[in-house]
Symmetry: C3
Subunit: 398 residues, 3 copies
């Protein structure tokens, strides 16, 4: 042993393994097995297999979304007669971004110019009896202009403060029926490409896997054609849980969520999106103006209070691919849990069990430091080849 | 023991626990206790309680932001007289997105048409003495058009190259005083809804928890009403650390950050946003044009160099909810750290302590493989029921 | 021992360390060393040093992007003669956002008004022989208006259904040559600021580290000036792997990726962006209109089918700074892996090795519970000071 022990090369190949104390305490043993089975089931069944813990994940994809609406609709504009709206009229902004607004209803105030006119009676502090009610220069956050200081008749029944601003002011109720109701038959094409930089994997929802013109002819349907990227607007609103006519009247926000969950251990063509639809908000409008110059050199505008549906297209993606390291980390986490289970059982065995003191003594083998004179004989630092007698029979009096 | 040992069912319930060596080495022991207390304090106090390590987190919420500005302002336009601007004039784009631009100052060049005119003297290589200085067809990235090859007088003191483009070219200094200074009194309503998909939890900053009209009447104030989603523009700029008049003159970028930090183990109504404001950039402008057709069929435009504040509204959110698995992982990480502490103490005990050799011999109990003839007698594979004499008294000569 | 043992204060400082069994099984030992070296190399070399596992990461920066295009170009418009386009004409939207569209080609349909005219023959179901082919009121998603029910001549060779909508309808092929080809010489300035909230660190790509006007004069070049934020449009398209003339003809989507990978243990000035370019999509167009009022009070518009390049600027950032806790977690994960290696070697030693049964018996030291009468003598709960004889020589008959 002394000769072999001094061979440093051999000592490096010594194998050290933890020593265990084995007892026949069946209830702690059974508890341990149950805990171990539960943890194994969780780690192997849930973490590793169901959650694909053996895969490295990339959940930060780069995405690109292009949208395109198609369709025409007729609107009845009081002051202007009926009017056909096409895509350049009802989509704002027209660029085909991932957030866009489809006009479904509007309140038009054509041909406003800068000037003086009575404020609308619905504005706070606008109704008046005399000029004193209208402090000149006052402006409030809901008013349409700056008060001139006069009180003038708005119509036969109301008197309101005169303002200076875009005249005439917007008035009249919002139409009771959406003016562009046919927009529910419009189609929306969503082109979405996605890249997972970690795996250098690129795909898109418009890859023509089957026949050539499929994505040209198809319409999305949750069951029949869940991969078709062409959506009927009315279907989207219905799938989001909204009533199109309600939403078209006062506007709303609809979210289209595209979810990619790709297992790159399988063929790339199986990596396909899922579409889901959410009604985010009811009621949405804003004001926009069409401006022009009236000869001679005077600016005019048509003001539109536009009601409609804001579509927000969000893409979330995740891809996974087998990785030794991810597998190791999943298993390592599992082993840490196994250690926690043993720790719990140890507590029971050492402090709760009827024979706890006995187990304590067995698990923790006490050693006494030998008297100094003995240690001084040691050929330090040749640590491992200690010619010491086995402690259990020498220092522990039996 | 032999009979019992062959009962496979019983063996499975054997409880194995690691055997420990216990020593009275007080300084390593004290060090270990200190390290263990530190780690326990970190794991329990910091990770588990303060950082809520017992919760599963969702930090990838789906958010929707709608903004709405209100207010009117007067601007003095040199060529056009004074002019009242309202929301359809000063907000770009008008759709109420989470990034928008509020015009606070501008330089207008009304009624430009395509034609020939002298370039502005401030453009590089524009000033000239003779036609030779102006190569026909040349265009530089800062020029307003394409050089025709002639050198013409710009005004009484300058001669510049003639260009072909939108004429007359933009000229004149930016106004010294912001023309829409009243915009600081405008109000900004931010509607923000947020969904945590992992917990299927949806909330918004406009939920009317108290009285009905609170969110209609209120104004945001950091202390007095930190939950009100209606902001005065001037207050936002001040809270971002900017001076409104400075920023309004040459523009800037202000970020409004909405932070949701929700503990879903508490009532959902306690999940409320915090608003913070940052001045991201000083100086921001762009050019936009209003176009129209001049009879007979000639395009004209008014060019505006618009200065103003770009508001960027960012939402960040995180929600947590109790989860057994997250608790397990936090505790498991803590136990791995405890193991690291023991490993460090072991190193001290085995290599630094004065009695190191002795401890080494105690911790690592050496076993010698028995002579082969003995092993050949073993009733393999009945491994556990080995009729071997205890190794410590047989193979280790005492 | 009994006196000392009852001193609670001392017992707390006992040091417990796991007891190991040491064997001279060289092949399992060698395997363990190889595995340990591999894991150490991975943990120290890869995780800790290369992946900077000793750093806390912040990969959720707040970013702000402002863009600005400069340049002028001439386009030949059939109906309108040649025309100089400047930045207010070819950038949509003009606000300088991180996604914008640069017009490179277009098909103009000037002076459309609402009225009746023949549909374009390329539209499905538009060609007709008699009025019966044109059901009044019908509208399809690709048509330009609503059928009036009449069949009228489109030109000398075609008859199509008459529609009611914006007239005349868009017709004519897309120009074979991009009309704004000079746009490849335009310059794009990208101002990008980035904040890492965890480290309260803010930087930007336009910080003038060297001489004052560097960022004004420079042009981006992958090797010569990789930090210059001013890009020539043609260079960007080339770097993205596209042919500018092709892309300018029918449009496309180009992504500019700005990547910040900052090591905040080094000086902040070394935190600089990298730019990369990707051709995301070929073919991109949309329709936009310029509207005005024709006296007396009739709306007119010029419709443009705009082809061009959509630039999408994406910013991804990560910063790292030394953190004790991150170092601890990286090392802890490594130790868990070391444990897994030992577990694997144990399996080999205990179940595969020729002397497996012997090792099994050594690793798992069996203890028998003492007879109850002996335990009843124990001065419970004074657990540690057990006056029990050492188990190995008493309960295990040798």
């Amino acid at each position: 042993m002394g000769v072999l022990g001094s061979l440093c090369g051999w000592r490096l190949l010594d194998y050290k393994t933890e020593k265990y104390v084995l007892t026949r305490n069946w209830w702690v043993g059974a508890l341990q097995r149950v805990l171990q089975l539960g943890i194994l089931g969780y780690v192997i069944g849930w973490s590793l297999l169901l959650q694909k813990g053996y895969q490295e994940k990339d959940s930060d994809p780069r995405v690109s979304v292009i949208t395109k609406l198609k369709g025409v609709s007729v609107a009845q504009m009081e002051a202007l007669g009926s009017h056909v709206w096409d895509v350049a009229d009802y989509t704002k902004p027209p660029q085909g971004e991932n957030v866009f607004f489809l006009v479904t209803n509007f309140l038009a105030t054509p041909e406003q110019v800068q000037g003086k006119c009575p404020e609308h009676p619905s504005v706070p502090l606008a109704p008046c009896l005399a000029d004193e009610d209208c402090p000149a220069g006052e402006t409030l956050s809901h008013s349409h202009g700056i008060k001139t200081g006069k009180c003038v008749p708005f119509n036969s029944s109301y008197q309101t403060c005169e303002i200076w601003g875009w005249c005439p002011v917007e008035s009249g109720p919002v139409p009771r029926k959406p003016q562009l109701l046919e927009s529910q038959n419009f189609t929306l094409l969503i082109k979405n490409s996605i890249t997972f930089p970690k795996f250098n994997f690129l795909t898109a929802n418009t890859l023509e896997t089957r026949d050539g013109g499929y994505f040209k002819r198809c319409r999305y349907h949750a069951q029949a054609s869940p991969l078709c990227p062409v959506f009927r607007v009315g279907d989207v609103v219905a799938a989001a849980g909204g009533d199109f006519e309600d939403l078209a009247l006062l506007g709303g926000v609809v979210r289209i969520q595209i979810t990619w969950d790709c297992d790159l251990d399988r063929p790339g063509s199986e990596c396909q999106p899922r579409y889901s639809f959410w009604l985010q908000e009811k009621g949405h409008n804003f004001r926009a103006a069409v401006r022009w110059w009236r000869p001679p050199g005077r600016e005019a505008r048509s003001l539109f209070k536009l009601f409609g549906i804001r579509f927000e297209i969000l893409v979330a993606g995740q891809a996974g691919k087998f990785s030794v390291i991810s597998t190791g980390i999943t298993l390592g986490t599992g082993m840490a849990l196994l250690g926690a289970a043993t720790f719990l059982c140890d507590l029971l065995l050492l402090y709760v069990d009827r024979q706890a003191p006995f187990y304590w003594g067995e698990k923790y083998e006490e050693v006494k430091i030998p008297p100094p004179f003995l240690l001084s004989l040691l050929p330090f630092p040749l640590l491992p080849s200690l010619p010491l007698p086995p402690p259990s029979s020498t220092f522990f009096p039996s």
